[in-house]
Symmetry: D2
Subunit: 313 residues, 4 copies
Amino acid sequence: MTTHHFDPETFFNTMGQHPPALRVQPGDTVVMHTLDALGVDRARIVRGERPNPQSGPIWVEDAEPGDALEVTIVDLTPSREIGWTRFPLAPNVVDPDRATRLPERETADWAIDVEAGTVRLVDPPPALAGLVLPLEPMIGCFGVAPAAGEAIATSTPGPHGGNMDWRGFRPGTTVWFPVSVPGALLFAGDGHARQGDGEISGTGVEVSMEMELRLDLRKRWAIRWPRGITADGAELFTVGNARPLDQALQHATTEMLDWLETDYGLDTVSASHLMGQTVGYDVGNVYNPAFTVVCRMPVSVVDGVRSREGVDT
Amino acid sequence: MTTHHFDPETFFNTMGQHPPALRVQPGDTVVMHTLDALGVDRARIVRGERPNPQSGPIWVEDAEPGDALEVTIVDLTPSREIGWTRFPLAPNVVDPDRATRLPERETADWAIDVEAGTVRLVDPPPALAGLVLPLEPMIGCFGVAPAAGEAIATSTPGPHGGNMDWRGFRPGTTVWFPVSVPGALLFAGDGHARQGDGEISGTGVEVSMEMELRLDLRKRWAIRWPRGITADGAELFTVGNARPLDQALQHATTEMLDWLETDYGLDTVSASHLMGQTVGYDVGNVYNPAFTVVCRMPVSVVDGVRSREGVDT
Amino acid sequence: MTTHHFDPETFFNTMGQHPPALRVQPGDTVVMHTLDALGVDRARIVRGERPNPQSGPIWVEDAEPGDALEVTIVDLTPSREIGWTRFPLAPNVVDPDRATRLPERETADWAIDVEAGTVRLVDPPPALAGLVLPLEPMIGCFGVAPAAGEAIATSTPGPHGGNMDWRGFRPGTTVWFPVSVPGALLFAGDGHARQGDGEISGTGVEVSMEMELRLDLRKRWAIRWPRGITADGAELFTVGNARPLDQALQHATTEMLDWLETDYGLDTVSASHLMGQTVGYDVGNVYNPAFTVVCRMPVSVVDGVRSREGVDT
Amino acid sequence: MTTHHFDPETFFNTMGQHPPALRVQPGDTVVMHTLDALGVDRARIVRGERPNPQSGPIWVEDAEPGDALEVTIVDLTPSREIGWTRFPLAPNVVDPDRATRLPERETADWAIDVEAGTVRLVDPPPALAGLVLPLEPMIGCFGVAPAAGEAIATSTPGPHGGNMDWRGFRPGTTVWFPVSVPGALLFAGDGHARQGDGEISGTGVEVSMEMELRLDLRKRWAIRWPRGITADGAELFTVGNARPLDQALQHATTEMLDWLETDYGLDTVSASHLMGQTVGYDVGNVYNPAFTVVCRMPVSVVDGVRSREGVDT
């Protein structure tokens, strides 16, 4: 159970089978530095290219196609005191005739106070003078090398993870990614000091980060989309990435149905009853080339079934 | 501030300019009986037709086009002990190739215990023996007569409200509908004893209800989509109804932007900063002819701006 | 086989169960005057309201729910010399970030020369001086009273027809609408002197018209969406109206599949072979609240099957 | 102006920066063998893997990012006598509740008679006995290495081209692809002996082919999506690839607008007038991970403008 300190020199704008920058054992922890979405590091030096340059890939020994890579987000700490956002709202998240009246896109700096746990605009418009929001660090973009030899831009999420921009990727959350290549090849970057649902201005509060991730394997667990457990331990979740949102929701819902059937031994009817009356949906990003929907199921509901059924996961 | 008891004889399957069944003053409360989605009443007698037969319309004195009708959901009580759901999951919420393997659609009864605050399947499949879920009553379908002389089926939500199936329409919630005709003409029905997000099996736990609603007016408040305040008082919300979800989200987002600009005096840039870093989205229904997305904004964030600005709403 | 001359005084902005303005026998022909999309008549007098005020409804004797109303478009003649269009392109048909740079929407007049069969801008921008386009008259909006008591705005197409804006609704075309109410209640209006696919600037060349339509019935032919035969007699077609285009295409495709199965006695596999290798799709409108996709099948292919099978339609 | 005969040993399932298999000069012609969508060659030997294994990449000397690669489809000849299709219709092209009643997917063989110019099912269901359809060869999947280091699966079209399945990619058609890497790196494969619009059964009549393509460059012509001229020379076209169809249409429409503005010197208003009243849309594939819409403009309309304007393209 080694802890690796990983401060990469090279960054990637696609998730694919790039040469591993670090090799770890299942169970190891990695404390890694990441650049912000434009490639700016903790010293405000540009060291990578847009979009979302990734630290990695990290080779996990023994990871093989058909396994799932388990990533526990232990801690996320902004590594500099200034982040930034874009504004105004992205044209695709408002009605098209409203989009025609949006002002030009610009960039604003935000002061990040890790000690106080706050973010605030450096040079706020008058109406927002004194606005202080909680620091809520999350990972915008992480995942593994995709299947079938693809190399997918770090703008675009897919079955392999990628640029999902879901607020639930916060400290305490566990996520599993489908392993498609030997070593899994984990990438991570694009930290946000905070963000609303949907990343509707096109960014969170973008900042370089120190990310502490614990990596492990679930052998022979052939999942199709990212799955996980929320930071509070209260919910299972599945992630679908596609356009439109309807299709992302179909992917996430189908993945949850498969999970309940395969791992909890439920028939389609029983799983449908549980899901129909208890699921929650979150909107991840609605800005990237593919959108993100998360399907959540209460662990208490699923555990109730499991304990009655004697099914062991 | 009269309380009216309304036990209608006639029910409607469209929201339109039907003859008023009740006339009330702004500020009055109505305790009304509603049928379930198939038209079955509290005595299990079929008195209306599918889909979602509505009690109403209720004429609110002084309501005129350009006003907003305020509806406070005071209380929702299932009025019989048996509800029902459809299963399995609806074919449109799973991947199309998974849809081809879904079993036939059927109906299941649920026992509703108002005292205990629970629902449970009457004849559960073995895996769900002993499953008990919390009673969480909500309104599936309510709204006002639409604009431009339309009469819209109670299957289909729109700017006038309608079949939105959002779990947030629960006791304590306040909602405003855009008034398009004299008297506003409120309709309500389709109570659910509980439901997961999205109404993904095509129903919640469908049941007849006693709904206690307080009705009021905001004069000359020309909103385009339903707006409201969540039951806990913590969030403003706006509702968009359309397909695909992307467009429903655009409507809800644009309505929130307009609200912040018009009522809170924010410019587009300031509103974009607030929304981009703090909004939440909920998925209402993804089953009806039009889908529902809700955009939520923390009241604390908005109030912070208002107090600094001295804007009065 | 009477020919009726119908010059209405009253116009409707919804398709619903309005009082019949004319009663005809199956087989009769109606020569009717229609207003343009803003309600302007052949004398350039405003006599109706936007959007798309309709002439009608026309009651067809013996039409009952479960029948199909057959409308043959005999002739379409612009009834004044000036039409108009909107410009620039609608914001929803270009990429959202391009939409932010569109100029303000305006209106342009077009000279319509029925004799010469041409349209041209009255006051063209310099680049378009001398631009002359063929006159290709079509019906933008026509259909019948919808099912279930709905009254649908003439902005919005659906199973009942309505604002479909398909170029194929030209002289020579036959179309069937599903009859949902006694008398069918046909409405027509919104003539276009010409239009590109999709009505992407939000209008065709809008003009009042004299429309000659022959009306007939196919008894007990329970169709779900408009069907027809193209003006050249070469193709069967079905129409789906929904958003996004994907869903409109699903409706049109399913309706064609049902047609081939029910009327031509084909099993799903045979119909799939034919459709998979021979259908064509047209994009009707992509501007209205619901979009339009048309699925076309060569009559020669279908007739080949019919003659071999001895199926009579 | 050399003619190269290219019979590759190695095939690719992604379009990316793979080692060039052939190097040609601008203006050269390549006569190349391609496998069918499952990797089967002209001798019915499996030599590649699904999906759509590609012959290539072909390096074109002097091609640089910012250029456009011009591909003229000179000839397409099926290289064996048996092709195949899938059936029934794909579940995503019919209404979801119809999808639940589709039979299992299977494969059928088709006899291809190049001499006679026909295709027919080898073992037709009774209803299709004697069905003979015209041979209409087309390219299902071709394109260039994408930008930003991506390697995109040959299932999925994008700005680089790829699996577009448009019937218009037939002999006589000229297409330009945006060059994103040195040498452009052309790939081609997935020939169809014929296909209906949309590839709605998931395949055309899939077959190995001999494809004769003439390759050339337009230097410093920075296009964003594939463009071209139809086989009859009558129309310019642009291609958008995305989901839903609405977004594919937005891409194609925006690309046509940009083309008219940049190359023909039209302002947005003039281009909008022309496009609004004359464009046509085709549906390419509606089956792949991204869908395809083609926007077509009559050359006569555009040439009319050009001759008046003295703009030279």
